[in-house]
Amino acid sequence: MDSLFELDDPSDWPDTLPHMRELDQLLRCPVCKEYFATAMVTSNCGHTFCSLCVRRCLTQETKCPSCRAPLTESELNPNRLIDSAVHTFKSGRLQLLAELKTAAQASLSAAHGESRKSNSESGPKRRRIGTRSTGITGNSDPNLKDKMSTRNAETVSMVDLTTSDVEQMITSDMDMTNSDDDRDVRLAPPAGKRDSRRASNSDDSDFMPDETSQPTRTRPAAGSQASVPCPNCQELVRQARINWHLDRCLAGKSTKEPTPVSMRKQAGPALVLQQASMTAKCVLPRPTKLAYSLLSEHKLRRTLKDLGIPTKGDKQQMQARHVEWVNLYMANADASVPVSHRLLLRRLAAWEEALARPADSSKPALETEGDVAEHAAKYADSFASLVAQARAVRAKPAKVAPDPLTLPL
């Protein structure tokens, strides 16, 4: 949910696919209008919401937001199937939309009689582009999403390119992708001996990427893949890498080679889990709901301190913060892959910042004609006296001014 802004909504689907539009709509929370994040189903009325959304609503009113049947938080149950459905749907969505666009363009150009001599060529090519994006969509890195949308826009024009052009683009795209994954290197499983990859881009041809993502790539020549034993440590090393290996081996450095992209990608979901557990060093106590009216400001501040959340502000602010913290904490506990408490604290801060913003920055912008008129009416007296003052000041220089002008004449 913390990914960059990308506005997608059911209207992305063309009118010719009403069912896809409806499915897209059904997989969204009726409160936030985004795809369900940790879906929870109500046990009474059977409505489904994001965990955080419904918990926030219930702090306001203990009723189901959809049908207003009485509802408490204990009547919420996780709906894991919806979570999985959302995950799968989101993964396929961009790919499908891109393919639809490509198909629409192809049929458009065919209708205009611009079709080239080898019209059949566009078929397999389109499929290749599509399968390639599967590999990317499967990646769990949220930073990639942004790039993905731009790349999908590129694929539309790719239809007109030759096969080699497309492959070149794919190669350069892969390199861009790699840089995003670099931070995951430490978590990736150790590189296999045969799975090693060239450090230099110039020799990319013998680097074997994810095979499923690039079915058309030809296998590299067997020569560069042949392994030879290292004369120093007897380890089997790929022939093309033997000099690099020897340099490091003799210098006593690690001979582990950089992890290939394919392995990092395959490890996607496992990585997320690992990452979450690695950063979850700060574990904060589970908060409980409080009867705020029975608590003094001092006691509430101490409770907040014990929970490890900020204690600034007055009682009202602390109370609002505590309510939001309980919701964030409980919603996170519902998730199949909870995030670290440190990240939760950041979300709490972001929530508070977003809530506080109107007071200073946006207020001046709200002034409408009506408000201006009201303001004018309210301060009519002050305006009148100010105008009188200004006139008096202007009257004086008016008397003085003609003198210096008339003097030279």
């Binding site: 936030c32 985004e34 207003r68 977003a354 912008a365």
Partner: protein, 169 residues
């Protein structure tokens, strides 16, 4: 690019803006006054046909709270308006705009009130039907309520005036 963190409200307002600009219901146009501030919207409502308001074009401002959609926006007409459910200062009094907790008038069933699953589109449609069919039980503008009930001709005449004013005639 904006990091989403705590801005559920902003994201939802942007989504609703997109939906409304793609498929806006008949007789209604709405959007943020400035793209810099998604919490202040302007709506243009066409007077519903076959009512005294027919032909008029009415402008209103919508102000959204930071915790939208937990709480509803407020709506205020920025043009002259004469209607039983609109205060003299232009503020619209309609059940869908009342937050779930408080019921100042003690007459609304909670099913008509604001809920986070409602939307801007639903608000504007409710206002449209309110214009066509006033609710004289909750008189925000007592004069208009009384006139609407007792002296419909005079009410229609004033409304015709307002329609002309709204068109700048």
């Amino acid at each position: 690019m904006y990091k989403s963190g705590g801005s559920t409200a902003l994201k939802r307002l942007m989504t609703e803006y997109r939906e409304l600009s793609l498929h806006s219901p008949e007789g209604i146009t709405a959007g943020p006054i400035s793209e810099d501030n998604f919490f202040e919207w302007e709506a243009v409502i066409n007077g519903p046909p076959e009512t005294p308001f027919e032909g008029g074009v009415f402008t209103a401002n919508l102000s959204f709270p930071r915790d939208y959609p937990l709480n509803p926006p407020t709506m205020k007409f920025t043009c002259p308006m004469f209607h039983p459910n609109v205060y003299a200062n232009g503020v619209v009094c309609i059940s869908i705009l009342h937050p779930p907790g408080d019921d100042p008038n003690h007459y609304e069933s909670s099913s008509e009130r604001w809920s986070p699953v409602q939307s801007i589109e639903k608000i504007l449609l409710s206002v449209l039907s309110m214009i066509a069919d006033p609710n004289d039980e909750s008189g925000a503008n007592v004069d208009a309520s009384k006139m609407w009930r007792d002296n419909r001709d005079q009410y229609n005449e004033i409304v015709h005036d307002i329609v002309r004013k709204s068109l700048g005639l």
